[in-house]
């Protein structure tokens, strides 16, 4: 435990940005480690890619991908990020890559209800799709990471997920004959740091986009035959505040549709018979009672391919999800008021399921390299 803190402090020191929080943290938690000098902590290595920034082409139905100033996307950064994404050496004992839980063949989500962690230890949540995560204002079901860059450290340091440490990752990658040259190509020097790993993976994640679905061609492409009559009815129900009311949270804008408002809502999923949540979701971050059992609205892109559903993967099929909403969820003191507005007839339910199946994009196979091909031996 001490080592893990020590190493990540080192990683932060490398950035030489001393925010008050860092100092506070160090003062409170690390007095015992303050005398230890960790190798490699003194140098200041830039983690900004140096090549020519590229624009990420967006498929029909998606807005421009937001790119942070400190991490411009370059072709080399995407390539490096992709390689890292499939590299099992990001985990302790090289057992898991990001793709082990975000399976390209499962539209970058996990067919298991709860993601199996390192050595098969159980986590508590279902791994969501990474498609269009680039647009989310915060990452994870409880929004605990504010960016794709900040999110990488989540899986890599979550003992249940990848059980590794910053230094462990760096040491693993430094042993590889190819990586220093690749890092040099992207960042100008061959140094391998955890920030560089994060930035490269984030750049790759920004290319995981799903759009140009039948829905997009109908809604934004003027192709009136792209949806079936049943799907068109389903879309109307999805939007109707007195029937599906789905678009209240799974938003559709005038020129694009992310199917998420990026906000946190309690839809009653995961509450027990006594009205209590084992996983209190957003509350863990804010400690606001009203956030109890609230989770970040997930996108519905490629939803037919990414089951099981919900933060705990409890609902196995889209039918089950729609039936869940048709029953107006599970009552609890923090249930979002929008859920009470849902009224679905049996036909509405069938139409909604048909509509959800129109949200599968046509992302080329090349975005989904077979893990065998991509994982480094």
């Amino acid at each position: 435990m001490k080592l893990r803190f020590g190493q990540s402090t080192c990683a932060r020191n490398r950035q030489t940005r001393s925010k008050s929080r860092v100092l506070h943290f160090a003062a409170v938690v690390l007095p015992a480690l303050s005398g230890i000098v960790l190798p490699g902590c003194e140098r200041n290595v830039s983690s900004k890619p140096t090549g020519t920034p590229v624009t990420i082409a967006t498929p029909l139905g998606l807005p421009t991908v937001p790119i942070p100033v400190h991490n411009p996307v370059t072709a080399d950064a995407i390539a490096l990020g992709r390689k890292l994404f499939y590299d099992r050496r990001l985990s302790n004992q090289s057992t898991l890559s990001c793709a082990s839980c975000h399976l390209p063949s499962h539209d970058f989500s996990d067919p298991h209800r709860i993601s199996l962690g390192f050595h098969g230890a159980h986590g508590t949540r279902h791994a969501p799709t990474l498609f269009n995560a680039a647009y989310l204002p915060s990452q994870f079901w409880d929004g605990r990471a504010a960016s794709l860059e900040a999110q990488v450290i989540g899986p890599a340091f979550n003992p249940v997920e990848m059980d590794n440490t910053a230094q462990g990752v760096v040491a693993n990658l430094e042993k590889d004959p190819e990586y220093p040259a690749l890092f040099q190509k992207v960042f100008g020097t061959p140094d391998i740091t955890i920030e560089r790993v994060e930035n490269a993976i984030a750049s790759y994640e920004r290319t995981l986009l799903s759009g140009n679905s039948a829905f997009d061609r109908y809604e934004f492409g003027g192709e009136k035959t792209a949806l079936t009559a049943q799907q068109i009815r389903g879309l109307a129900i999805f939007r109707d505040p007195n029937r599906g009311n789905c678009a209240a949270c799974h938003t559709i804008n005038a020129h694009y549709a992310l199917f998420t408002d990026g906000k946190f809502h309690n839809i009653g999923e995961g509450v027990d018979d006594e009205g209590k949540f084992d996983d209190t979701g957003r509350f863990d971050r804010t400690h606001l009672a009203s956030d109890t059992g609230a989770f970040e609205t997930p996108t519905l892109r490629d939803i037919a391919e990414t089951g099981p559903y919900m933060h705990d993967g409890r609902l196995k099929t889209l039918d089950a999800v729609i039936q869940y909403y048709a029953g107006q969820g599970n009552s609890n003191p923090f249930l979002d008021k929008e859920i009470k507005k849902i009224h679905l007839s049996a036909q509405d339910r069938g139409d909604l399921v048909a509509f959800l199946k129109s949200l599968t994009g046509n992302t080329p196979l090349d975005e989904k390299p077979a893990p065998e091909r991509a994982v480094h031996p």
Binding site: M1, R4, F5, S8, A11, R12, Q15, R17, K19, R21, V22, F25, V29, H70, T124, R144, A145, A146, S147, E149, A150, I153, G154, F157, N158, P159, V160, G268, V271, D272, D273, E274, G275, K276, F277, D278, D279, T280, D284, R285, R314, L315, A320, Q323, Y324, A326, G327, Q328, G329, N330, S331, S345, A346, Q347
Partner: protein, 260 residues
């Protein structure tokens, strides 16, 4: 901004791992009733206890039974192999009235009874609540089972107890619920299937019964005394009669409900 976040992420990851463990057990504890001093439960003396029994009849026209339309839920149609009829008025042979809820309404004031230890079960089977009318004691467990291939959302609509609704998918484990206050009757519906209805009577004593197709009821192990015996029916209103039960007595009370 970024280093901030990482500390938060790093710290909370470790801390939350530790916390989620204890918060789990603390929620479990929190749901247990607080360790109040054991209530002074009334002990029925078997040497003096008696019983009240009788039958409930229906007089009047037999309205044609209304078939229930489940056609928009094929799985429910399949589960029933044929027509399903509304069960708001069920009259058996010899004008016997089924589904009447018979209970002691007055006469037990001041006595506290231990909740029955075994649960009462309501099953959602064939997209139908079984039984249609049932009784539980306050504090007794109502076990809710879904035997259907579809999701149900059970929704009791009490006036004095807490209202709640909970979805139960096919194959989900039974749910357990306890009512805290006496209330006759609490309608129950399924939020998904509009034709599904049940009624649960909650009493703070064990003296209640529901008539079957023979219209008969028996309430036993009742201490001697004077009581108001009440009958609730879904569509024919309520009736009361006063009874006096001698030690080891057995009272017989019949009721007749008139249809229009």
């Amino acid at each position: 901004m970024k280093p901030h976040l990482k500390i938060v992420a790093c710290l909370t990851l470790t801390v939350s791992a530790a916390m989620s463990g204890c918060s789990k057990s603390s929620t479990r504890h929190a749901t247990m009733p607080p360790a109040a001093p054991a209530p002074n439960y009334f002990k029925v003396d078997p040497a003096t206890a008696g019983s009240v029994s009788g039958s409930i009849r229906y007089q009047g026209p037999r309205p044609a039974r209304k078939p229930v339309d489940m056609s928009n839920e094929p799985a429910c149609v399949d589960a029933n192999h044929g027509k399903v009829y509304e069960d708001s008025l069920v009259v058996g042979p010899h004008n016997a009235l089924a589904n009447a809820f018979v209970y002691i309404e007055k006469g037990l004031e001041g006595k506290t009874f231990a909740p029955a230890p075994s649960p009462v079960t309501i099953d959602q089977k064939g997209c139908w609540f079984r039984p249609h009318v049932l009784g539980v004691q306050t504090g007794q467990t109502l076990q809710i089972v879904n035997s259907d291939p579809v999701t149900h959302n059970i929704h009791p609509m009490p006036q004095v107890n807490r209202e709640w609704n909970h979805s139960q998918g096919s194959g989900d484990p039974p749910m357990n619920h306890r009512f805290t206050k006496a209330e006759v009757m609490i309608p129950i519906k399924c939020n998904i299937h509009g034709w599904m209805h049940a009624y649960v009577g909650v009493l703070d004593h064990p003296y209640f019964a529901v008539t079957g197709d023979d219209g008969k009821f028996t309430i036993s192990n009742l201490p001697p005394g004077t009581y108001t015996l009440a009958v609730w029916t879904q569509t024919l209103g309520d009736q009361q009669q006063t009874i006096t039960l001698a030690p080891r007595g057995s009272a017989r009370v019949d009721f007749t409900f008139h249809g229009k």
